[in-house]
């Protein structure tokens, strides 16, 4: 019950946000980007929060989906709504593949990290290298490609809001089914879970596929919303690090963690923005401090101080 009440509360609060910003394009952009970050964090929560799969290619997954959709739309003159699902599926397939191979080959944390890091750099260099299709570093203008509803300030906010709510509902549905039980078991101890008859490979691949599908969806929506995509938007520092910080800050393995973290990181980002390059330093320091001293995240703090059973 607490889960559905929380979902409703989160939904109502986020749905009312555009009314409070009073149509300012600046705040409208910040809040929409906050939703993108929250979607990414929900996706990463499945991967890392529940099944301890540290993917260092979140940006590349979102970027693969975004670039595939945009390039196909532009080159073949298709509607974005036909190519977005394709991009999402490819991201999901790639994530599932990495997970399957890593579980099958018995790769530990380090090797999965290195494989996905290598993929993320390969993606980056491919986008730079395939200049005729991607315009390299300059990027592609996505405005006016036909995804009208994702371009207007208010309609795009509600599209991403809908995506986030779908992600959260999907997440809670999964967590209250057998899959959730399996996730909890294998995040405690994989060997014990395997011995208890849980198909560890299957559930890790499920987590990775669903997470990567969500990354792909977030990436594709973001691509059409932001108007211009370039490889820098999907790099390690602009996606992976920020999402990692968001998830840990909010609270790993919880329903509202990604939402709280997304709000907190958006605020921090706005505070640091005037100082230019400072954000790299701040994110690095945050990553260290959070992992050393704040591993439960905001959710754990709220649970303790307000004595609420926050899901």
């Amino acid at each position: 019950m607490a889960r559905y009440a929380t979902l409703l509360l989160v939904g109502v609060i986020l749905a009312l946000v555009p009314l409070t910003t009073g149509g300012s394009p600046y705040y409208s952009r910040i809040t929409t980007l906050m939703l993108v970050l929250m979607v990414y964090a929900v996706a990463f929560n499945m991967l890392f929060g529940h099944t301890k799969q540290l993917f260092l290619c979140l940006g590349a997954l979102a970027g693969s989906s975004a670039y595939l959709s945009v390039v196909l739309t532009r080159e073949l003159g298709l509607s974005p709504w036909a190519t977005i699902p394709l991009g999402i599926l490819v991201a999901g397939f790639l994530g599932g593949l990495f997970s399957y191979v890593s579980v099958r080959r018995g790769l530990g944390v380090i090797f999965l990290g290195v494989v996905t890091l290598a993929f993320s750099l390969i993606f980056y260099n491919l986008v730079l290298g395939l200049r005729e299709l991607t315009n390299g570093e300059t990027g592609i203008v996505t405005q006016g490609l036909g995804a009208g509803i994702l371009e207007g300030p208010r309609s795009s906010y509600y599209m991403l809001f809908a995506l986030l709510m779908i992600a959260l509902v999907l997440y809670s549905a999964l967590m209250s089914s057998r899959v959730g039980v399996a996730f909890r078991a294998l995040s405690d101890d994989e060997l014990t879970a395997e011995l208890a008859g849980i198909d560890v490979t299957r559930y890790k691949v499920i987590a990775a596929t669903v997470g990567s599908l969500l990354m792909g969806a977030g990436g594709a929506f973001y691509a059409y919303y932001t108007g211009l995509i370039s490889p820098a938007l999907f790099s390690l520092i602009s996606v992976d690090i920020v999402v990692l910080i968001t998830l840990v800050f909010g609270g790993m393995g919880s329903l509202v963690g990604p939402v709280l973290g997304g709000a907190a990181v958006t605020v921090i980002d706005e505070l640091v923005r005037p100082f230019g390059q400072l954000n790299v330093l701040v994110y690095g320091a945050l990553l260290i401090v959070l992992f050393l001293a704040f591993r439960g995240g905001l959710v754990a703090v709220l649970r303790k101080t307000a004595k609420l059973p926050i899901p």
């Binding site: 530990g108 290598a118 390969i122 690090i241 990692l244 992992f291 050393l292």
Partner: protein, 285 residues
């Protein structure tokens, strides 16, 4: 063809030098150091700042390399202490995240405070001719330095008691501890030593062309690729893998261009992990 191969071997020696620290820290400390390239940059920036204050190139480089060693020592005694409290996967994970954070802190700090500092060392004689082949003297100097460093490292690990102790920890940390070897003290030594080696590679980059504050990520990635292909626990493997990938890099960038080259190197690392996680050259070494 021959000049390309020589270029490849020269570059490969630098890659080995850069990567061996990752192998040492991973093998001994169980931490994959994602801030390793930044150690090299710290040495380069320190040397450049000293040279900017009027110091000669040789003493400045020496102090720069020493600065990277001290930096490694400090990091081991501060940032990595919480990671060492855990063992196995937990330590790997925490170490990975902490050093990733550290790499961004160093990059962010250097780009903010010293945005235009770069290290360029010019030798008095730009090139030599040996057997009809012209070689840049910087290539000769850096290769000799790398070979000297590796020679000393092998002598240290094979010939001294401390080296034996280090190899025993690489094989089995708990077993070594039961024999009365203190893993934490040897670990500090190794992280400092890795800092020195990375620093040497950083200064060598300054000899070749120039080293800027933004090159840390690139160094880390290259070092990681080499360490992975060599098998992240084998020092011999890292040495051979560095030279091999240096030659591959030279051939590929001559015949195919820069983007494809990096993709080939990254692909090699990915394939190594998938086919033979203990390193492509694991049998051979």
């Amino acid at each position: 063809m021959v000049p390309i191969l020589i270029d490849g071997i020269v570059y490969g020696l630098q890659l080995s030098l850069l990567a061996v620290g990752i192998t040492l820290i991973y093998g001994l400390g169980g931490v994959l150091n994602l801030a390793h390239g930044q150690f090299a940059v710290v040495a380069g920036v320190a040397a450049a700042l000293l040279m900017g204050n009027g110091m000669g190139a040789a003493p400045a480089s020496f102090l720069g390399v020493a600065a990277a060693g001290i930096f490694g020592l400090l990091i081991d005694r501060s940032l990595l202490v919480p990671a060492y409290r855990y063992r196995g996967e937990e330590r790997l994970l925490l170490g990975l995240v902490l050093t990733l954070g550290l790499s961004f802190v160093i990059d962010g700090y250097l780009n903010l405070s010293h945005p235009n500092v770069s290290l360029t060392i010019r030798l008095p004689m730009p090139s030599l001719t040996v057997l009809g082949i012209t070689i840049r003297s910087a290539a000769v100097v850096t290769s000799l330095l790398a070979i000297l460093a590796f020679g000393l490292l092998f002598l240290f690990l094979r010939g001294t008691l401390l080296g034996k102790a280090i190899r025993s920890i690489i094989q089995n940390e708990v077993g070594a501890e039961l024999c009365g070897i203190s893993p934490s003290r040897t670990r500090t030594l190794i992280v400092a030593l890795s800092g020195l080696l990375a620093g040497l590679a950083g200064v060598a980059q300054g000899l070749f062309s120039s080293l800027g504050t933004e090159m840390g990520v690139e160094f880390t990635i290259l070092a990681l690729i080499v360490a992975v292909v060599g098998g992240v626990r084998s020092i011999n493997g890292t040495f051979v893998a560095g030279i091999l990938l240096g030659v591959v890099n030279a051939l590929a960038s001559y015949y195919m261009g820069a983007y494809v080259t990096l993709i080939i190197l990254l692909g090699a690392a990915m394939l190594t992990i998938l086919i033979r996680p203990s390193g492509l050259l694991a049998y051979w070494t």
